[in-house]
């Protein structure tokens, strides 16, 4: 882990300074344009929001927003040049680029969909997104194997293969989800809904977000050795996803009335930003404990050379929690807002809500334990690992073992 040096390729210059900031404003304008369409256009159509965005109406609203954003960005950047160095904008642009890439990929895949007459609800096996998810599964497992291989044979080539395959997995998973959204309309206009409504779909989302958060940390802090741990967690999830598919949980199903709300589209993904970051923190914690053991045994392994130091791993775990905690807080608040609108109370002590609170309290305690004295290193690494176990229970266990209002995640 050395300091990043100035990278001069033209590609990365797109993400820097004036160009980066203007692009950020353009994206922002695009999103605001689409939100404005939902709020003020012909009305938000819960049943066909994706198609609404993709229609002429969406192009007009989104395009206008993007152009306005572009202009605002250029003017603001010229008036107040410090904005051009805004870290928030410059850190966000690559994510939005990635999202755009996924959308384009999903459009490409959609060309391979079977003819309308061959698509039916009872047998969804001929839809393309299933194949892409399968590819994603293979890629993520391959990536985990490469990262582990990299630990034992720290060749930069192997490391690069591992990283590239992790990126490929994220793009495959993200585009498959977007495609699945589109496919849900192909089945039946009434069935169409955003692909964040059941366990199988959110699992794919979780893999992508976990990997993406990890890749961001890897890119910024050269923490490649940690990948072996994070991607192994993801692979474990992949096997669970394959099992879900094998018991018929992968089908697109219509939404129950309680989930037919725009809140679902923001609450659920935001929650998974939290879960994904906590998974990365868990990976960092495991890497910490691993290195700690190696060091304590006085190992001279070549592995140590490529591993981040204990202090760096400690900070990486903190970094991941620092991404996840605000996201999880926001997600919980969004959930409360939704509950207020759908059930009449922002907090009902429903098991899922309560477990979200427990997860939140545990990471809150983690952050405090860090600041106060005496709590560092090994204990906190264990805390990060244990915190993730609680998170997994909140995510899976509650749906499977406890009853409550959040029964959508239940296997049916």
């Amino acid at each position: 882990m050395t300091a990043t040096t100035v990278d001069a390729s033209w590609l990365s210059s797109l993400n820097q300074g004036k160009i980066g900031f203007t692009r950020f404003c353009t994206y922002l304008g695009l999103m605001l344009g689409i939100s404005a369409m939902a709020m003020f256009g012909n009305g938000y159509n819960e049943d066909a929001f994706l198609l609404q965005i993709l229609s002429m109406q969406g192009v007009l609203w989104g395009g206008t927003g993007a152009l306005l954003g572009l202009a605002c960005g250029a003017v603001l950047g010229a008036l107040k040049p410090s904005l051009n160095e805004s870290r928030f904008a410059l850190n966000t642009v690559p994510w939005l680029d990635g999202l755009l890439g996924m959308i384009l990929l999903a459009m490409l895949w959609s060309l391979f969909e079977p003819a309308a007459a061959q698509i039916n609800y009872e047998d969804q096996s001929n839809l393309v997104s299933g194949d892409i998810v399968m590819a994603m599964n293979v890629i993520f497992i391959f990536s985990a194997v490469s990262y582990i291989a990299y630990l034992f044979a720290p060749e930069s080539f192997i490391g690069r293969v591992a990283t590239l395959s992790a990126y490929a997995g994220v793009f495959a998973g993200g585009s498959a989800l977007l495609l699945r959204w589109y496919e849900s309309y192909l089945l039946d206009m009434e069935i169409g809904h955003a692909p964040v409504s059941n366990l199988y779909e959110v699992f794919i989302l979780l893999f992508c977000i976990t990997s993406a958060v990890y890749l961001t940390l890897e890119r910024r802090y050269q923490a490649k050795a940690m990948g072996a741990f994070v991607m192994t967690l993801v692979s474990a999830g992949v096997f669970f996803g394959i099992w879900l598919d094998s018991i018929g949980q992968a089908d697109i199903k219509p939404l129950v009335p309680a989930l037919q709300s725009y809140w679902m589209k923001i609450h659920v993904p935001m929650n998974f930003v939290g879960y994904g970051s906590f998974a990365v923190a868990c990976g960092a914690g495991m890497a910490y404990l691993f290195r700690y053991r190696l060091e304590n045994k006085g190992s001279q392994s070549r592995m140590l050379a490529i591993f981040p130091t204990l202090d760096q791993l400690d900070q990486l775990a903190y970094k991941a929690v620092a991404i996840g905690f605000p996201a999880f807080t926001l997600a919980t608040i969004l959930g409360a807002a939704w509950a207020a609108e759908a059930w009449g109370g922002y907090w009902s002590w429903d098991p899922k809500e309560t477990w979200a609170l427990i997860v939140w309290l545990i990471y809150g305690a983690y952050l405090h334990a860090r600041v106060s004295h005496g709590w560092h290193g090994k204990a906190l690494a264990w805390w990060a690992v244990a915190g993730f176990l609680v998170t997994v229970f909140c995510f899976l266990g509650v749906n499977m073992y406890l009853s409550g209002l959040h029964s959508y995640g239940r296997l049916s």
């Binding site: 040049p81 160095e85 928030f88 069935i191 219509p254 009335p257 900070q315 545990i362 405090h368």
Partner: protein, 561 residues
């Protein structure tokens, strides 16, 4: 020491302990562990269920600890109270210090302070002015302060100086949210109301502790209609109630509500929460099982009990559903959703009879090949819906002729003296067919024959005097509404917004400080560059290095770390 003073010292110690971070960690962990209990032990169930589940000893133990409504029990609220106290204490203690810290930006540093910095660089330059210019240009958007002491220039640059506001916002926000929650509990209400179609209601009911309580609303709600829409798969798509609000006898508002789109009137929100049967009219046809071929019809309603004076048998109707969509596919086959049509559920009781729960379908069961398999029931001997077992009756009771055929067949069978069973059946059936249908045989008479034979084996075994089947219905739904008033909600939203903003400041806008210390040293000028950050040192390390490369690279050929 005078006692007053002792008390003061004690109070001060408590106050300090309350505001300490270790207490915060302990409180957070204890709260999270306590919260687990209420998710494992189902909350707010009926007391009878609890008693049955745990037995008297544990029931009373749990009850006295308030575990059945744990999140409102005194000890849980006390924990929350401690959290509020602790938050107040730490805010009280830290805010003045932080405000002062944020304002003071003394550029001067002592040698000892400089030696303690983790991020430090030192080099020689011969052009200090260019260096300072580059420094300021590189750190565009930072705030600068300068001072000169004993010929040494101190230039201080700050970014994210307001970071501590993040801390203040987050912790005040938590306090605000807790206050909002308390306001909601104290001054708000939430309860359920079921309104049958065409009727109105003005009272809500809710659980308080271990008992159910009632509250009168300042208006009446009338349900004009309730509708369910279905997906092509048979799963429900939308529940929609058309409601009218009646205030002091006047109709003031009529509106449709669906799940996720409530109605708002006089500070009360009205939500679509559930639905059920609102007392549909049910017409039963009783098929007497005493071989008399007699039938009679009775009219009753859902939730009512009809009682036969002669036999003492009673029929308590518990539910009615016009659609009963089931997946008819076996395990592993592609799904096959089918609507089995209207069905009524009732409990049949009588002297000398074991009470049974029955779900009777109006239509016969048509299998996947389109073959009529006759009428059928679901019967549960335990009274529990999970124990329903299908019970085929053989004949199709929606067809009057099959009932007649059954009796004719039965009659001919008992009249016959032929020994050979097969032959006896065949002849009896032929004679019965002739009695009922005359010379025109129905097309599917072979199936009818099989089913009639089945009925002969089944019907006489039934212990009941008659078989109540659904003959006709007039459906009425009730809509299950939830009414809530929550004056604390907006306080909670304000707190939530502050919480998120505060966290963004706290985590993503760290306070970064950099110093450039320039001291003329004979011909050359010695430059020291130091920095610190209150969070995320890893990112700062690379930024520090980048800035160092930039300014040192331009000002000194002999940069050294």
């Amino acid at each position: 020491m005078p006692p007053m003073n002792l008390f003061g010292a004690f109070a001060k110690t408590i106050w300090t302990r309350l505001g300490s971070m270790s207490l915060a960690v302990i409180l957070l962990v204890v709260l999270s562990i306590a919260s687990v209990i209420g998710t494992v032990l189902l909350q707010n169930q009926s007391q009878a269920d609890y008693l049955q589940q745990f037995g008297p000893l544990w029931y009373w133990t749990f009850r006295s600890l308030g575990l059945f409504d744990m999140y409102h029990s005194w000890w849980f609220l006390t924990l929350l109270g401690f959290l509020m106290l602790s938050l107040s204490a730490c805010l009280w203690r830290n805010i003045p210090r932080m405000l002062k810290e944020m304002k003071s930006r003394r550029p001067h540093l002592t040698e000892r302070a400089i030696a303690r910095f983790r991020f430090r660089q030192q080099w020689q330059t011969d052009d200090a002015d260019t260096l300072v210019a580059t420094f300021k240009k590189t750190l565009h958007g930072w705030e600068f302060r300068e001072t000169e002491e004993n010929g040494t220039r101190y230039i201080r640059a700050d970014k994210g100086r307001w970071n501590k506001w993040g801390y203040i916002l987050v912790h005040s926000a938590l306090l605000i949210i807790l206050i909002g929650g308390w306001t909601s509990v104290q001054f708000g209400f939430r309860g359920d109301m079921s309104v049958p179609e065409g009727r109105s209601e003005s009272e809500i009911s809710f659980l308080k502790g271990t008992s159910r309580e009632y509250l009168k609303m300042p208006f009446e709600v009338r349900c004009n209609s309730f509708n369910i829409e279905f997906f092509p798969t048979g799963a429900p798509k939308e529940f929609r109630s058309n409601l009218t609000i009646i205030d002091h006898g006047k109709e003031v508002l009529t509106k449709d509500i669906i799940v996720n789109e409530p109605l708002y009137y006089k500070g009360v929100r009205i939500y679509q929460a559930s639905f059920g049967d609102g007392g549909s009219s049910i017409r039963f046809k009783l098929y007497h099982l005493d071989s008399s071929e007699k039938t009679e019809t009775i009219d009753t309603h859902v939730y009512e009990t009809w009682k036969d004076k002669n036999t003492g048998v009673s029929i308590e109707v518990t539910d009615f559903k016009p659609f009963n969509v089931e997946n008819m596919a076996g395990p592993g086959e592609p799904k096959d959703f089918r609507d089995l049509g209207p069905a009524v559920e009732y409990i049949l009781r009588g002297p000398g009879l074991k009470a049974v729960k029955i779900k009777a379908f109006m239509n016969p069961f048509i299998d996947t090949e389109g073959v009529n398999q006759g009428s059928f029931l679901l019967v549960s001997l335990s009274g529990n819906a999970a124990d329903y077992k299908p019970f085929p009756l053989g004949i199709d009771l929606s067809n009057e002729q099959e009932w007649k055929l059954f009796h004719a067949f039965f009659q001919h069978l008992s009249d016959s003296s032929i020994q050979d069973k097969k032959k006896r059946n065949l002849l009896a059936f032929k004679a019965a067919m002739k009695d009922v249908y005359g010379d025109t045989m129905p097309k599917n008479f072979q199936q009818i024959a099989m089913r009639t034979l089945q009925a002969v084996n089944v019907l006489p075994q039934l212990p009941w005097p008659y078989l109540p089947m659904l003959e006709d219905y007039d459906q009425v739904y009730y809509t299950g509404l939830q009414l809530a008033k929550d004056p604390g909600m907006n306080i909670v939203w304000v707190g939530s917004a502050l919480l998120v903003i505060g966290m963004c400041i706290m985590f993503y806008m760290p306070h970064r400080k950099l110093w450039l210390i320039i001291r003329p040293d004979g011909q050359q000028t010695e430059v020291r560059f130091v920095g610190m950050v209150n969070r995320n040192e890893m990112a700062f390390a690379s930024a520090f290095n980048d800035i160092f490369m930039k300014i040192a690279g331009e000002s000194a050929p002999s940069a050294r770390a």
